[in-house]
């Protein structure tokens, strides 16, 4: 070993601690503190009152938004997982390693590529006079209203999360021990039973991680519910925007944000427990 200097060690160890403490943990903590402050003359003033919590919790629209958001995110996690599964299955078992690598390569791209513009494109495609309605109109159906509905929002959640969920599922499915699958075949399991009794339990971690990431992303997203879902009734994310932007009521928006964080924490821990805990027999 060389002369170990602590200057060297801390040069590498401290930057992330300092940065994420000052600009991630402190802002989140400050947001919690802010929920007890009051807004007077459009300015926040330090205080310690429960008024903001009271105001939000006593409003029907807050709870409507809460259940709507929770319901949609849960539905998105289920639908996206189901939609993704056959594709991930194909990538894991039916194509060569090279093809799989390139497929993942291409699935990573949209995840980092302007979600906003993609949603705008869906807005144009799904419109009353858009591409889809022109297509089905030519065979005499429609026009069907697809925008400003739960369906529209779901298309948005699929756009946001499908690539990531397929990637996570594919990795875990590809890692399933082929001997186990062979053994199941040899013991007379049919295709459906092999998938249900061997493949899904073995790939459990990736399947659950995919679902929980989809849940988290959909739960917090405001673009799809706003531009494809029609913004009414609002989701929690839209409520945060409205409360922050129009009323300058940052403390009340912070109440909504804290409720979202708590919900996500509970969901994430439940998912991690389900993924890494002992399988139930």
């Amino acid at each position: 070993m060389p002369q170990t200097s602590s200057a060297y060690k801390y040069t590498w160890r401290l930057p992330i601690l300092i940065w994420q403490a000052a600009f991630f943990l402190v802002p989140l903590a400050f947001m919690l503190v802010m929920t007890f402050w009051l807004v007077k003359n459009y300015r926040m003033q330090p205080d310690f009152v429960l008024k903001n919590w009271d105001k939000m919790f006593s409003r029907g629209y807050f709870w409507d938004a809460y259940w709507l958001t929770l319901g949609r995110a849960t539905l998105a996690a289920i639908i996206v997982s189901i939609v993704a599964f056959p594709a991930s299955f194909a990538l894991a078992f039916k194509v060569s390693d090279t093809t799989r690598r390139w497929a993942v390569f291409f699935l990573i791209i949209p995840f980092f590529t302007s979600y906003l513009v993609r949603i705008y494109a869906w807005q144009v495609i799904l419109a009353e006079q858009g591409v889809i309605n022109a297509m089905i109109g030519s065979v005499g159906i429609g026009p069907v209203t697809m925008l400003n509905s739960g369906f529209g929002a779901m298309i948005g959640y699929l756009t946001l999360t499908l690539p990531l969920v397929v990637i996570l599922q594919t990795f875990s499915l590809a890692a399933v021990d082929r001997n186990l699958i062979e053994a199941a075949w040899n013991l007379g399991c049919g295709r459906a039973r092999t998938i249900r009794a061997v493949i899904i339990p073995s790939a459990r971690i990736g399947l659950i991680l995919g679902a929980i990431f989809c849940f988290i992303l959909s739960f917090g997203d405001f673009v799809s519910p706003y531009y494809l879902g029609g913004s009414k009734p609002p989701t929690l994310s839209i409520l945060i925007i409205d409360t922050t932007k129009s009323g300058q009521q940052w403390p009340r928006a912070a109440v909504v944000a804290i409720c979202m964080i708590v919900t996500l924490f509970v969901a994430a821990f439940a998912a991690i427990g389900a993924a890494y805990g002992r399988p139930k027999r």
């Binding site: 930057p15 940065w19 400050f30 194509v95 906003l116 297509m135």
Partner: protein, 257 residues
């Protein structure tokens, strides 16, 4: 059965890439409300979009923010990945968790927290504020990319340099950094793309200093406006180039070792 699955897989890819392709096609289409059959070829929306000075200012802002945020993210990410690779210490699990946590917090929540905190610091409404926030988001990606590369390094290489008399700093400079270079460049491209596309935090924090996605968001709040397709096509090409470059850099390295 195999054919059905592959067909399904193809359909998933069509769904994922449809909006990107559609946006590019619409950007060259003369119709205000694009549908099929398509109208004629036209550069009208590009001319309209890029004759607006605000668009150029937004691109300039985005460029400044992405380069600064990517530089900071890449350094912090590298430092963290190296720490994880080289050292063991108490609470390391918590340390790594903190390093990787930010991208799992919904952007809208981070946006509100950043707005409130940066206002206290007097930084809201500035490009500096956006750079700070984008570094929080980018550093975990940079850390993951660099860590992947370091895990392919023979741990005895650094020790060999020490044994031959190199100090820690010169082993870093002559062994670790050259080995990590592809990952560092890759992390830079990836975090630049993350910053270039981020709209929620930038929207809350930016004030009058809009970046490109914030401008798109504000145009979106009006009526259907095909300029978005023209601007969006430029944005797509930029971020796709960055993400493809990031991935190719990481793949190329695999062969050299």
């Amino acid at each position: 059965m195999r054919a059905v699955l592959l067909l399904y897989l193809a359909a998933v890819f069509v769904f994922v890439f449809a909006p990107i392709v559609a946006s590019i096609v619409f950007s060259f289409n003369s119709d205000r409300f694009p549908t099929i059959p398509l109208g004629s070829f036209s550069m009208e929306w590009y001319v309209k979009a890029f004759s607006d000075e605000g668009v150029w200012v937004a691109f300039k802002n985005s460029l400044i923010v992405s380069v600064c945020a990517a530089t900071l993210s890449t350094f912090i990410g590298f430092a963290t990945a190296y720490t994880d690779y080289r050292y063991g210490f108490r609470f390391k699990g918590a340390y790594i968790a903190l390093a990787l946590l930010p991208p799992t917090v919904p952007l809208i929540i981070l946006a509100l927290a950043m707005l409130a905190w940066l206002s206290q610091l007097g930084l809201s409404g500035t490009l500096t504020g956006i750079v700070i926030a984008h570094t929080v988001l980018g550093a975990p990606f940079a850390m993951a990319v660099t860590r992947l590369r370091l895990s392919q390094m023979d741990p005895s290489l650094e020790a060999a340099a020490w044994n031959l008399g190199a100090s820690e700093w010169s082993a870093m400079r002559h062994v670790i950094l050259p080995f990590c270079l592809p990952a560092i460049l890759s992390a830079f491209c990836l975090t630049a793309a993350v910053s270039f596309d981020e709209f929620a935090v930038a929207w809350f924090v930016s004030g009058l200093n809009k970046t490109v996605p914030v401008m798109i968001l504000e145009i979106l709040q009006g009526n259907v406006d095909p300029r978005i397709n023209a601007i969006g096509t430029v944005v797509f090409l930029t971020s796709m180039t960055l993400v493809i470059a990031a991935q190719l850099l990481l793949m190329a390295k695999g062969k050299s070792t």
